[in-house]
């Protein structure tokens, strides 16, 4: 038998909701097997079944040819299955060694033997080229390093089957390519890997085979070398996916948002936006391109009233909104898809319905004389759920229970429902799969075509290039240039984002952004 893990015909129900239906996944020894599916397709459920967190209603699990019952994660550990979680399970102020041995301590006469453990970890780290210092504290090392600690943790416990759950979600491009190397190294040393992801590029780069699931159903398994991103995308989504966003020519008219000489400081009091000028017109999508940390967050927070403006002004349709309260700004016609949907976008413990009401709960028709009309809330929520294809069991489901893409769709639905003059979308597709990304891009373009102004902030160059009608490049708190997507290239944008052409374009920037 050359399969190390076989999951055959797995079915998992939650009440009346079928999360997994007849899914089969067979992992060969020494392969990287990708598990591909949209957000909420049932990938995590399947892995939780394998890991013993859920018991399947039907189906069979075989490890190395033998049928097993995985009743809890300890059983999975004993079978040599290790999971590298998307959200790391590490104690911040413990060292690498302390974290790895936690719950599995080497003891000598009742005293934890840190030294020997550290040596063992050092050896493992060298063997797989992980380059981790066992004596560093978690809080002092980068996110990429922390992930390697998670990998070491599973290796230390003797795992030879590793599950990676969305491992690249929080990594930089550099760290991603390093991780790919590490995965290849693990395979060479005889491990087998299941890679859960919805990023097609990664699958094409490292995997040997791909199992696709869609809406809880197993679609099939394909050999990576015999497929291509387009085929994978359509298998995953169930229809043809357009990678190039289709849109008509923009038809920009009057100026909506005008930002003049804006200065904003971050929470430490250090200026992050340094005299920025920008204008967005009705009927256009203005994309802000830039590397994270060049003042983008502070800019958005200043426009939406979440952060104090130190100097300069912001106005909407000629009305000054500088340093107004967030509610005043919202009521001036600003819709905002926030950068951090868990922190700002949603009250996770509220139901989806309650969240749909978050911006309008105090207004007629939801609130009358201080009394909430919750049936109206349900009605609005059902409309958003239907119009925006939010996949959930209903409007009473807690927002926390939805997948990232569906949470984001609900937020966009809520913001667009108010029909804002200016829609600010900050990293609207972060962590989403191709289907959801396409959907969200279409909604942004729809707003533009309705004659609204859209301000798009993104760290992904192809998103900025594809969706925007104009691109403003931000560097060190200023807009260094404004360009048209068809007249520029990723190379030129990359150079501008790195601050290369700043001086020669300062004059030109003034002209293009001061649209009066």
């Amino acid at each position: 038998m050359d399969y190390v893990i076989e999951m055959l015909g797995i079915r998992k129900e939650f009440g009346s909701f079928v999360a997994n239906d007849n899914i089969t996944l067979q992992l060969k020894k020494g392969e990287i097997h990708a598990l591909l599916g949209e957000n909420g397709a049932g990938k995590s459920t399947l892995m939780n079944v394998l890991f013993g967190l859920y018991q399947p209603e039907a189906g069979e699990i075989k490890v190395k040819g033998k049928t097993v019952k995985v009743t809890d994660p300890n059983v999975a550990n004993d079978l040599g299955i290790g999971m590298v979680h998307q959200h790391f399970m590490l104690v911040e102020n413990f060292t690498v060694t302390e974290n790895i041995i936690l719950g599995n301590e080497l003891t000598k006469a009742g005293i934890v033997n840190i030294k020997d453990a550290a040596k063992k970890i050092q050896k493992l780290s060298e063997m797989y080229g992980l380059d981790v210092d066992p004596n560093e504290k978690i809080e002092d090392i980068s996110v990429g390093m922390q992930q390697r600690v998670e990998i070491l943790k599973t290796l230390y416990r003797g795992a030879d089957i590793l599950i990676f759950d969305e491992p690249t979600a929080s990594l930089t491009p550099q760290e991603i390519s390093e991780l790919m190397q590490i995965m290849k190294r693990l395979i060479q040393e005889g491990k087998s890997i299941i890679l859960i992801t919805h990023k097609l590029k990664e699958i094409m780069d490292v995997s040997d085979r791909v199992t696709v699931i869609r809406k809880g159903e197993g679609i099939g398994t394909v050999v990576t070398a015999e497929t291509n991103p387009n085929e994978l995308a359509s298998l995953m989504v169930g229809r043809q996916v357009e990678f190039k966003t289709v849109k008509s020519e923009a038809n920009p008219t009057d100026v909506t948002l005008v930002i003049k000489d804006l200065v904003v400081a971050d929470y430490r009091g250090i200026d992050k936006v340094k005299g920025l000028n920008l204008a967005v017109r009705k009927g256009e999508i203005l994309g802000i391109a830039g590397i994270d940390g060049n003042g983008q967050s502070e800019l958005i927070e200043a426009i939406t009233g979440l952060r104090k403006v130190k100097a300069g002004s912001v106005s909407i349709n000629g009305k000054d909104i500088t340093n107004k309260k967030p509610r005043k700004i919202t009521e001036s016609g600003v819709g905002h898809i926030p950068q951090d949907r868990h922190k700002h976008g949603l009250v996770l413990d509220f139901s989806i319905g309650h969240n749909i009401a978050l911006q309008t709960y105090y207004q007629d028709p939801i609130s009358k004389n201080g009394i909430m009309n919750y049936s109206k809330v349900s009605e609005l929520a059902q409309k958003v759920i239907k119009d925006y294809d939010v996949r959930t069991q209903g409007e009473h489901t807690p927002a926390r229970a939805l997948s990232g893409g569906n949470q984001q769709k609900a937020i966009i639905g809520r913001e667009v429902l108010r029909d804002p003059e200016l829609l600010i979308a900050a990293l609207p597709t972060r962590g989403l799969d191709v289907g959801a990304i396409e959907f969200i891009h279409q909604r942004l373009i729809e707003q533009r075509d309705k004659g609204k102004a859209v301000l798009l902030l993104s760290f992904e160059l192809d998103e900025v290039m594809n969706v925007s009608d104009r691109i403003a490049v931000i560097y060190d708190g200023q807009i260094v240039d404004t360009l048209l997507p068809k007249e520029t290239s990723e190379q030129e944008l990359g150079l501008l984002m790195a601050g290369q052409k700043k001086n020669s374009n300062i004059g030109k920037q003034g002209e293009t952004t001061h649209v009066e």
Binding site: L306, G345, D349, F350, I371
Partner: protein
């Protein structure tokens, strides 16, 4: 086992386990548990008088539990119920003795005075939390001590150096001749209706009003609330003020109902602290608070009969009562074992 069966089984098993362990404690100490529990039962339900007194005991627990639960639901930990209750107690007593008004003005006036006093006492920690991010736990604990000694001093001032304000005027009293007649002259008073009305009010505020929506949102996620244009600071203060008003009303129950006066106290009443347990036992829901208050009130009052009827020392009685409450609070442990047993059965 279905979820529903588990939901019913959990409290039943917890109480039985608590009683069993309590019985062991009595046995080990050389007392008859059957006698002891008979005395407890009689203390709670034995006769009309006992039932009346038990309900009277439940009344302030209801309000103290509401106070803690309301603050909890909006993300705040109100440990200051004790202090808010004491100032409410004094305020109601003062209005009760200082004025001579028709009942339909005097009684509401005294009740509202107590609620306002409690609200004002809770406003201070609310304000400090909102404006200066001082943790409400520290401030409310300290405010308890300030309340204890301030009200003691005020009682001395009001009574010219005495240690009792004297009995309130009948026009401000919650005493009920009807309840007295049916419960063999227990101290059961009309306050129970006020307490139950407040349970309804808490449910109404949280589940029906726009303010309740805001309070809950702020409690769950301050950042998202701020993004949605809510005034986070205002809501923190408002939540503390409402919680304080509930606690102040608990004081009014003692002042206008049970005791008819305020007296100098050597220490805290304990109602405020038990209110934390009442709220937590009831999972901070209005209905749950009723459950918690009934459990606490009954056990606390019924236990008083155990030394008299069964000759069990007060100390052992306290241990037994604490064990029963402990097991009820550990309900989730029992749920865990039930669910595990369930899983095992499924796996086989």
């Amino acid at each position: 086992m279905s979820n529903r069966v588990v939901n019913i089984l959990v409290p039943v098993i917890s109480v039985i386990l608590g009683l069993l362990v309590g019985a062991i404690v009595m046995l080990v100490s050389g007392y008859d548990p059957v006698l002891g529990y008979t005395a407890l039962w009689n203390g709670i339900f034995g006769d009309a008088y006992a039932i009346g007194e038990t309900i009277r005991q439940i009344t302030p627990y209801l309000l103290a539990g509401l106070s803690v639960a309301f603050a909890f639901r909006t993300g705040l930990f109100n440990i200051g119920v004790e202090g808010q209750l004491l100032v409410g107690w004094f305020a109601a007593s003062y209005v009760g003795i200082a004025f001579d008004l028709p009942m339909y003005i005097h009684l509401p006036f005294a009740i509202i005075a107590a609620a306002l006093a409690g609200a004002a006492w809770a406003f201070i920690p609310g304000l400090l939390k909102a404006k200066l991010q001082v943790h409400e736990v520290i401030v409310t604990i300290m405010m308890n001590y300030i309340a204890l000694h301030t009200t003691n001093a005020m009682i001395k001032v009001v009574s010219d150096g005495g240690d009792n304000t004297g009995t309130i005027n009948p026009s401000a009293s919650l005493k009920s001749a009807f309840f007295e007649s049916i419960t063999d002259y227990s101290r059961l008073h009309y306050g129970i209706f006020i307490a139950l009305a407040m349970v309804l009010l808490m449910w109404f505020i949280l589940e029906k009003t726009t303010t309740g929506y805001e309070l809950k949102a702020v409690g769950f996620n301050k950042h998202a609330s701020e993004y949605a244009g809510m005034n986070v600071n205002k809501n923190i203060i408002l939540s503390m003020v409402i919680a304080g008003a509930f606690a102040g009303l608990a004081g009014a129950m003692e002042a206008l109902g049970t005791f008819q006066y305020a007296n100098v106290k050597g220490g805290f009443t304990g109602i405020g602290f038990d209110g934390i347990a009442v709220a937590l036992l009831g999972a901070n829901t209005p209905l749950g608070v009723i459950f918690g208050a009934v459990l606490f009130g009954s056990l606390k009052y019924g236990a008083l009969n155990m030394p008299n009827e069964a000759g069990i020392p007060v100390e052992i009685v306290s241990i037994v009562i604490a064990i029963i409450i402990f097991f009820v609070a550990c309900g989730y442990v029992i749920r865990y074992f039930l669910e595990k047993a369930n899983k095992k059965k499924e796996a086989k």
